[in-house]
């Protein structure tokens, strides 16, 4: 066998087995994952990430399947990451979301990955966001991220997705439920599914009342999200394998003070920001 090609290199030429393996590395907290993602990082950020959340049985998987179908009619490729719960007792899981997505299995423009929550309590798995990064780098135009069935207060999806869809169905409480803080607030889109059931109209009205006036808080949160994401990733990228560590070490060795090095670096980085930005496709 030839010298092993990196997973990142294989992903760049569209190897789906490598894609699947790298997501496993993310799930397993494999120490090799970080370097692979760093190599793919320039390709991350082009996909639109749609999170789909809601209570168990609301129809999340079915909706994801339909969204994927519609995206395909627009000739966009779709990466799907669907999270189901792990047992708190055995750590085992039965991952059944893709049964609802059966008709997408052999579509070469769709990739579906089932993921167990593995002890995370925010509705996603710890590795879900990394999996989305990998799908993004692979080149999928749309990423659909389905949470476990949630209750009132699992909203990790807000940080992981660009657009959050909350799927509800009638019969789960009165207008006060709709006014409570939490899940409903994170929604960009509220879906009343199973709308042929009694109570659908009532639920629509309750949600319409409750959803008015949530905009300002959401925008603030989104700005904060961008800020957080930039600072985290900036540090990650600067200090990555081919990053600044070596340069800083050698300057320290020459006796330059840490403050002076930091000031010079900040100057360089912010200067870089004022250059005409490379527009992404």
């Amino acid at each position: 066998m030839a010298a092993a090609e990196t997973l990142a290199a294989r992903i760049e030429r569209g190897d789906r087995t490598a894609l699947a393996r790298l997501i496993s590395w993310a799930e397993n907290a494999d120490p090799r994952f970080a370097a692979e993602l760093a190599a793919l990082w320039p390709k991350v950020g082009r996909a639109w990430r749609i999170g789909v959340t809601g209570p168990p049985g609301a129809g999340k998987s079915t909706l994801v399947n339909e969204l994927a179908r519609v995206e395909r009619t627009h000739e966009r490729t779709v990466g799907i990451c669907a999270v189901d719960p792990s047992s708190p007792f055995t750590g085992g899981a039965l991952l059944g979301d893709r049964i609802r997505m059966d008709d997408r299995t052999l579509d070469p423009g769709v990739y579906i990955r089932s993921m167990a929550s593995r002890g995370s309590h925010g509705g996603l798995a710890r590795a879900a966001a990394s999996a989305c990064d990998v799908l993004d780098a692979f080149g999928f135009g749309t990423i659909l991220l389905e949470t476990v069935g949630v209750g009132q207060a699992e909203y990790d999806v807000l940080d992981a997705a660009d657009t959050v869809v909350v799927v509800l169905c009638p019969g789960a409480g009165d207008g006060i439920q709709a006014m409570k803080a939490g899940l409903l607030e994170v929604a960009d889109v509220l879906v009343v599914n199973k709308s042929d059931l009694p109570g659908a109209e009532r639920l629509m009205n309750d949600l319409t009342d409750a959803a008015s006036g949530l905009g300002a808080a959401r925008t603030k949160k989104r700005v904060e999200q961008v800020r957080h994401s930039v600072s985290e990733q900036l540090a990650e990228r600067l200090w990555g394998p081919e990053g600044l560590r070596g340069r800083v070490e050698s300057e320290l060795a020459r006796g330059v003070s840490p403050h002076a090095i930091a000031a010079a670096l900040l100057e360089e980085i912010t200067h870089g920001l004022t250059r005409p930005a490379e527009v992404r496709g």
């Binding site: 087995t17 047992s87 055995t90 059944g96 893709r98 059966d102 579906i112 167990a116």
Partner: protein, 141 residues
């Protein structure tokens, strides 16, 4: 690699419409701490292999009650190999005559399980096989 979990695909290839057994085994493996993906009924060998590849599973278990096992096992394996998934532990069970079972096992397919097998025996066997494989992988790298 402390977080690594055994990922198993339980597949129902072909026209056979009975999946009580497949679901029982899937639940038992879940209770044994594995992550189990169930394909649902009426899958083609191609679809099963494609799902195995997308999910990067360690094990594929086929449940076949239709009598088509001598045709389906080789076809699933061929489709797995085509996708670079030849390393997967391919096993299964169902209504498979003893002779056929032996023929498949000696043909290089993993152990097969017939009716009446305690689910724990299946789980323990898979666990044991995977521990051997992971140990060998560890020794390589």
């Amino acid at each position: 690699m402390t977080l690594r979990k055994i990922r198993v695909l339980v597949g129902k290839p072909g026209l056979d419409g009975h999946d009580r057994g497949a679901k029982t085994v899937a639940s038992a493996l879940r209770d044994y701490g594995m992550e189990v993906i169930y394909t649902g009924l009426h899958q083609t060998p191609e679809a099963i292999a494609e799902i195995a590849a997308q999910e990067d599973v360690d094990v594929v278990g086929l449940s076949i009650l239709s009598g088509a096992h001598m045709a389906l096992f080789p076809r699933v394996r061929a489709e797995l190999v085509k996708r670079g998934m030849g390393h997967v532990l391919l096993t299964g069970g169902g209504i498979i005559p003893q002779d056929d079972m032996q023929a498949l096992e000696s043909g290089g397919y993993a152990k097969l399980f017939g009716p009446g097998t305690p689910t724990e025996a299946i789980a323990k066997w898979i666990q044991g096989e995977m521990e051997k494989r992971w140990k060998a992988e560890g020794a390589q790298s």
